[in-house]
């Protein structure tokens, strides 16, 4: 609930929440991957 409230996803429809969360997950995973490759 805190995640939904602070990112304002609480107001969105389920598919929009899923889209945004997937986008966020993609960014974080590519960042971790790049950090891993780089380091």
């Amino acid at each position: 609930l805190q995640y939904l409230l602070n990112t304002a996803l609480y107001m969105l429809e389920p598919w929009e929440r899923a889209l945004f969360s997937a986008f966020l997950f993609a960014i974080i995973s590519t960042a971790l991957y790049s950090a891993f490759v780089f380091l």
């Binding site: 609930l1 805190q2 939904l4 409230l5 602070n6 990112t7 304002a8 996803l9 609480y10 107001m11 969105l12 429809e13 929009e16 889209l19 945004f20």
Partner: protein, 487 residues
């Protein structure tokens, strides 16, 4: 009065939230534009071959932010807006584009309506008088005052109100908003200057714009800014011609209903005397609710009513009725009687509405032989201080003056506007949550309106609910003191 600053992280998260909503709003508009998603509003904001009233962009916010949470706004009620209220439950299966009534009525404690002295009741002396007046006068005169003249009860109301305010004369109108919007143009015009508080109500702003006078906003309750604007206006005069201003009118409100703050009346009067300006005081929220005798901020600050040139107020918030009044010198009121737009365009006040006010006024003034009115004023003052104190102790950021009957608690984030409203309704409390553009982008809030009709049990129930919701939705932003849970 304290206005604790927004924590920086809360401000950043709030703006980021709006950025995310805008980005996804643009995505939705794009999907509607390419036809991927069905448009649920009217085909376009502007039907074909019609003059465009709205730019489609102006509806962006309504389409993509407001619609998503509009189940918490404009909720229909199925009872009198008293201390308790029955909310009609609405169900939507297309994310608030359309609603259906489920037929259920949710009994709730009413913390959203302006009902400061608890006169919004459908039984008791006020409603009996109102009902009796319908039998005697009917419901409406269906005509304007200029056309059909004044009713006897109008004169009775205006005389009583003038006595209540300790003013020479008074004139009443059928609508509070129109009292400002349609009478300010009769007071000032071209070549005059209006100094308006930045947080003034939209009816004052509209009236000032309609008048054609030059408008200079000054920062909210900032007497230094007001004085510097006054000095600058008198020294430099009108733009381009540098002629002196014909009149300078300072427009302020007694209680600011969004901030819960009171105007600094003694200092404003000092400034108006020093610079020979006129003062227009809008007591929409303070008449009846503030001051030891309920005479508004004039009573609260114990200033001389004659120091204020134009007393304005409404009958909506404290008298359980509708309409507004302007009071002042007899010459002023006679002028308004002749030139007011409202007196020649809108119908006279309806008899039951008038008698609701007259009987509420008599009770407040103690003319009914009881001290019920005084008791209500005391009760409201106690309820307000108690409720506000508890909220501050629980760690919420509460804006405004300790004696203000409006208690704004800061929410900040847009999603929490809906979450707080829904969770409080689940716990049997009907509250009003307010967001942008009625407030600043980063200052969404829940605004409690306390009433003399609230018992301590009701307030405790509301405080307990607010404590749970505040914990669930994490609203305890205040840094001022250690927070404690509701005991």
């Amino acid at each position: 009065e304290d206005f604790e600053e927004t924590p920086t992280w809360a401000a950043v998260v709030t703006v980021l939230g709006y950025a995310i909503l805008s980005a996804l709003g643009w995505l939705r508009d794009f999907l509607r534009h390419i036809g991927f998603e069905e448009k649920k509003t009217a085909h376009d904001p502007n039907p074909k071959n019609f003059v465009p009233l709205y730019q489609s962009y102006e509806c962006f916010y309504t389409r993509n932010l407001y619609t998503r949470i509009r189940d918490v706004f404009n909720q229909p009620i199925a009872s009198v807006a008293g201390a308790k209220v029955h909310i009609m439950e609405r169900i939507s299966d297309d994310f608030n584009w359309t609603f259906k009534f489920s037929g259920k009525k949710i009994p709730s404690i009413n913390l959203g309506s302006y009902n400061y002295l608890g006169f919004a009741e459908n039984q008791g002396p006020c409603s009996e008088q109102a009902i009796k007046s319908i039998e005697k006068y009917g419901v409406s005169t269906c005509s304007t005052r200029h056309e059909l003249g004044n009713q006897r009860y109008m004169q009775e109301l205006e005389t009583l109100m003038a006595e209540y305010l300790n003013a020479e004369d008074c004139i009443a109108f059928g609508m509070g908003f129109a009292t400002n919007a349609l009478n300010i143009p009769t007071l000032v015009g071209q070549g005059d200057l209006i100094l308006s508080d930045r947080l003034n109500h939209i009816s004052l702003i509209l009236g000032a714009r309609l008048s054609g006078a030059t408008i200079c906003p000054f920062n909210h309750n900032d007497m230094k800014d007001l004085e510097s604007q006054l000095r600058k206006a008198i020294i430099s005069g009108q733009p381009r011609t540098c002629r002196p201003w014909k009149k300078i009118l300072i427009i302020v409100e007694g209680v600011y209903s969004m901030e819960g703050s009171l105007c600094k009346l003694p200092e404003i009067i000092e400034l108006k005397k020093k610079y020979k300006a006129y003062l227009y005081m809008d007591e929409a929220h303070s008449i009846g609710a503030i001051g030891s005798r309920g005479r508004g901020v004039v009573d609260y600050w114990r200033v001389d009513p004659n120091d204020i040139d134009v007393h304005m107020g409404t009958f909506t918030k404290s008298f359980g009725s509708a309409g507004g009044y302007i009071a002042g010198k007899k010459a002023l009121i006679d002028h308004i009687r002749i030139y007011s737009h409202s007196a020649c365009y809108s119908t006279s006040m309806s008899a039951p509405v008038c008698y609701q006010i007259i009987s509420a006024l008599s009770i407040i003034m103690g003319r009914d032989g009881t001290n019920d009115g005084q008791q209500r004023i005391q009760q409201l003052a106690c309820n307000v201080r108690y409720f506000r104190r508890q909220l501050v102790d629980m760690g919420f950021i509460v804006y405004g003056n300790d004696n203000s009957p409006v208690v704004p608690v800061m929410i900040f984030m847009p999603a929490k506007i809906a979450a707080v409203n829904r969770e409080m309704l689940k716990r049997g409390c009907a509250v009003v949550t307010v967001g942008f553009p009625a407030t600043l982008l980063t200052e969404s809030r829940v605004r409690f309106c306390i009433s003399a009709g609230h018992t301590k049990e009701m307030l405790d129930h509301a405080l307990k609910a607010m404590d749970e919701v505040g914990h669930l939705v994490s609203l305890r932003y205040s840094k001022q003191k250690p927070h404690r849970r509701w005991i």
